[in-house]
Point group: C2
Chain length 328, copies 2
């Protein structure tokens, strides 16, 4: 390509757009990319219910320890499908480029997209490219939507007191990574985003164990996701603080700065509610740092409550407004 930066003409729909799509997007997406340069894809949908989702990604900075906006825009949408009990099949990719974005930066992002799509086993089947003037964007914004087929429907109505709440690993890593990066904190311990597709892991569990509810606790974190589950219910959710898995750097930030990782975003973790009798099995299938972090209780109806290490109860409300915008 002649230019080493994105120019407005790359969004014209003419020759320059075609070149960008063919020589950059399609080239670096490779096997994960669409089979033609057409606007739309014609696909064979398998038998079953269709699950459909969309997410835009405006993370800043574009690259961070553990991933970049390319990793994120695939993992995030794949995970939204996976927690609905769907097998993710196809993704769309819509990019809004700011004029001036270096082509090599775009190439790197597209390579991340390809790599993550391959890990997740999904195909990017259609796409769109727009370019806005310098100063009207922030490098690149990405929207991916996703289509999957329902394989393991959750039934939150079947949740009852005694059911266990599980998390698939350490809490708050993505949000805390972005925070330290943006605020310029120097950490002794390496902290990185957990950004990763979860569909393989989730399929392993749902194939063996009935899961009553799943959610990927992204913006708003574990506390907000659980509040969405609890709201208006006749039962409550009681978390045990001493059971919460945190990575060392996140625990350090919590103690040092008083930040609450329960409200910090995760991009590669899943929360599950399962029957008490299934908890051990689910835990072993999740592996790693997965933990039972609490249970469904008759008390605290409609609320999420934390039993602290000092044995006091603290109600965890919904995040009103994140102090840190643009984490995904």
């Amino acid at each position: 390509m002649v230019n080493d930066k994105i120019i407005l003409g790359h969004g014209s729909g003419g020759r320059l757009t075609q070149e960008l799509v063919r020589d950059l997007f399609c080239k670096y997406l490779g096997e994960a990319g669409p089979s033609s340069l057409d606007d739309s894809a014609v696909l064979d949908f398998p038998e079953g219910k269709l699950v459909y989702t969309t997410d835009s990604y405006v993370v800043s900075p574009l690259e961070f320890p553990g991933g970049d906006i390319g990793t994120l825009c695939i993992a995030g949408t794949v995970n939204d499908l996976a927690v609905m009990g769907a097998k993710p099949l196809w993704l769309s990719l819509g990019v809004i480029l700011e004029a001036g974005l270096p082509i090599h930066a775009l190439k790197k992002i597209v390579q991340s997209i390809a790599r993550t799509a391959e890990v997740a086993g999904v195909q990017i089947v259609c796409g769109d490219t727009k370019v806005v003037e310098y100063g009207k964007g922030d490098g690149i914004y990405i929207n991916t939507s996703g289509v999957g087929v329902l394989t393991a429907e959750c039934l939150p109505e079947s949740i009852q007191p005694g059911d266990k709440i599980l998390v698939s690993g350490t809490i708050g890593d993505h949000g805390m990574t972005l925070l330290t990066l943006r605020k310029g904190f120097e950490l002794e311990l390496e902290l990185k985003s957990d950004c990763a597709p979860l569909n393989g892991l989730i399929e392993n569990v749902t194939a063996e164990v009935g899961v009553k509810w799943m959610r990927d606790p992204t913006r708003g974190g574990v506390a907000t996701a659980l509040n969405e589950l609890a709201e208006g219910r006749e039962w409550g959710l009681l978390l045990q603080e001493d059971a919460l898995p945190f990575s060392e750097p996140v625990r350090g930030l919590e103690e040092l700065l008083g930040l609450d990782p329960l409200y910090s975003a995760n991009e590669g973790k899943v929360l599950m509610v399962v029957d008490a009798g299934n908890a051990e099995k689910a835990l072993s299938l999740l592996g790693g740092d997965a933990a039972v972090i609490g249970e469904v209780t008759e008390a605290h109806a409609g609320k999420v409550v934390l039993n602290t290490t000092m044995d006091t109860l603290r109600t965890l409300g919904v995040l009103t407004s994140d102090p840190l915008p643009r984490i995904c």
Copy 2:
């Protein structure tokens, strides 16, 4: 809602986001909107092939004679599905809001979305809201993806010399409207965008007549869309200049400023190639200003050629780079 402008907290994923989604998006989308506030939708896909598309909308200004970004983001994606021969079913809606956007402006856009979705008979089944800082966007950028079911597959391989090229109405209105608006031209005649969903019209034709190829000539206009069809083919496309339908204001702009409406975007027109024997029938079904504008020829293989009113031949190349960015 307490605020009269979008603030960063509206993108936090917490309470403010929930309120914005519930009290603005869901409220004003009404019947056209999703049935729950969940991230994703579970849907029954009918029998047949699935058609999937995506488009981001960055039009500037957000409102223009004949429509706004809300009309455009539904019509554009519906039309992408319709020209694939699909019946559009469901759309996703991902918005990137710039902090400072007045809530009333957003409300108006969402109302346009609802109205256009109703006209097109499509449902918005899932959505996402992100907010970027003031100065990192331009009011609102929207991505819609769409899913449809294939009802009338086109077979461009069956195109042969003698086939007719049709357009469903006047050419270049959308692009010329945006141009006059952005350049501040004062026109005596009213010029407005043709922005509208075409699925109903297209279904009327495809139900009665076999269509070999269809395309909505958006960015790059009629000339670019036809070039994409002709490229690499053993036949050519010959257009008759005196058959091209233009609105009076567009013809005026062409004569006055030397602008070529064949490269100007349309947002509510469809190009079709049909068997010569079907041309009259298709024309009557398209109605209005629809016209046969040319035919497939043995000569000019791989090219689009214009037979001008002065009886000279001019090859119409692909637009390289639009002089006017952000028209959709």
